[in-house]
């Protein structure tokens, strides 16, 4: 079942699905979902709550056979989305075809979130490259997204499904290029950061500072604990031996941010986005940080890695 034409070959399919507003989305997505349900294929739909409601109305009784997920709740931090698909695919591993509709790029995403969500889209090509029975269709709202975000959507997907059906994307550069390390620098802090040394005395001062910042922002002080724990996890698992690491902390655009620099480089593009293997220290530190924070940004180069952690206060 695809938008038109023959069934897909038995390999992972990652399709961009440009649509012009919610009406167009429902009109084109509902028949695809209905046909997959009719074929007995497992389907998970991870879009926003409003579109879920529209689709459920349209599908009627068939909607009971679909797993629904509000992507705005699960995917605020896009690094938490791959495990959701991984579990769904694993649960239905013996099926001929498993269908996912996932919309990680939505209008109004903060700039840092958008960059990481686009990175997520790129890495989906790698994460499921060996999962032959999985088709993942990613809607892009061309009416409301910045055109640059739509163009990047075409670049991130090997296939694009428009009203005429799926076709190879002319902009997809291939797996190696799309999963190459991010080279874009993180923007400079919006205000002068406070610096703390990650030793016993510095960690106590750091926690007090985080508590003060979250208190000033009027959010639960537990968010300070979450951020402090994320910092500790990153420092422990990506810290270099015999190096006293520094952490910079500042507030910006409704978030408290913490940044660790001069960390050990990691070459695994999926580090922190998959369940960590027992021996995967870097992956474990980043994975924990991704559960504790609203956003985690990793830039890893030969010289070392930078990790920036975001805890939202709005």
């Amino acid at each position: 079942v695809t938008a038109a034409g023959p069934p897909p070959a038995a390999r992972y399919r990652h399709e961009a699905f440009p649509y012009a507003g919610a009406d167009d989305f429902v009109a084109r997505a509902a028949p695809l979902i209905a046909r997959a349900v009719e074929a007995g294929d497992p389907v998970r739909v991870a879009v926003d709550a409003a579109k879920i409601e529209r689709l459920r109305e349209c599908l009627g009784t068939a909607s009971a056979s679909v797993a629904w997920t509000d992507i705005r709740r699960i995917g605020g931090n896009p690094a938490r989305i791959i495990p959701l698909w991984r579990q769904f695919v694993a649960r239905h591993g013996s099926r001929d075809r498993v269908w996912g509709f996932g919309e990680p790029i939505w209008p109004g995403r903060a700039p840092a979130e958008l960059v990481e969500a686009q990175r997520h889209e790129q890495l989906l090509n790698l994460a499921f490259a060996g999962v032959a029975n999985f088709t993942l269709i990613c809607p892009y709202d061309t009416d409301n997204l910045d055109p640059a975000a739509v163009r990047e959507g075409h670049r991130c997907h090997p296939f694009v499904a428009d009203e005429d059906g799926p076709r190879p994307s002319a902009d997809y550069p291939g797996l190696d290029a799309i999963t190459a390390p991010l080279v874009t620098s993180l923007p400079a802090p919006g205000e002068e950061p406070s610096e703390f040394t990650l030793d016993r005395a510095g960690e106590a001062l750091l926690r007090s500072h985080l508590v003060a910042l979250t208190h000033q922002a009027g959010v639960d002080p537990s968010r300070a604990d979450d951020l402090a724990l994320a910092i500790a996890a990153v420092a422990r698992h990506l810290g270099r031996p015999r190096v006293r690491h520094l952490v910079r902390v500042w507030r910006e655009a409704g978030s408290v941010l913490a940044e660790l620099r001069h960390l050990a480089a990691t070459r695994d593009p999926l580090a922190g986005r998959e369940w960590p293997a027992p021996a995967d220290g870097a992956g474990r530190g980043l994975w924990l940080a991704n559960q504790l924070c609203d956003l985690v940004q990793l830039r890893s180069h030969d010289a070392g890695a930078i990790v920036r952690l975001h805890a939202r206060t709005l």
Binding site: L84, Q291, L292
Partner: protein, 86 residues
């Protein structure tokens, strides 16, 4: 004798981003149980404030209980499962 699971202990404990305490999505329940198992394990290797330890421990209990409910198995806290899931 059947005892309804008591989630009230965990009800007022602050949640992590994206965490919904009463979700019935099996993948989410499994995910959060694993998250809190990892977090409480990691806490053993650092020296956290006691209230932080208590918060994560209570959340872990909550998710283990939810996982047991969805599995239809006896709960980790010794209570029987059986209350209707939304």
């Amino acid at each position: 004798m059947y005892h309804a699971p008591d989630h009230s202990m965990a009800a007022n404990v602050p949640l992590l981003p994206g965490e919904v305490a009463d979700t019935n999505v099996p993948e989410e329940v499994e995910h959060w149980a694993a998250v809190y198992e990892e977090l409480t394990d990691f806490l053993l290797r650092v020296e956290p404030p006691q209230e932080m330890v208590e918060r994560y421990r209570r959340r872990l209990e909550h998710w283990r209980c939810r996982r047991a409910q969805l599995d239809g198995a006896p709960e980790a806290n010794g209570h029987s499962s059986g209350d209707a899931l939304r």
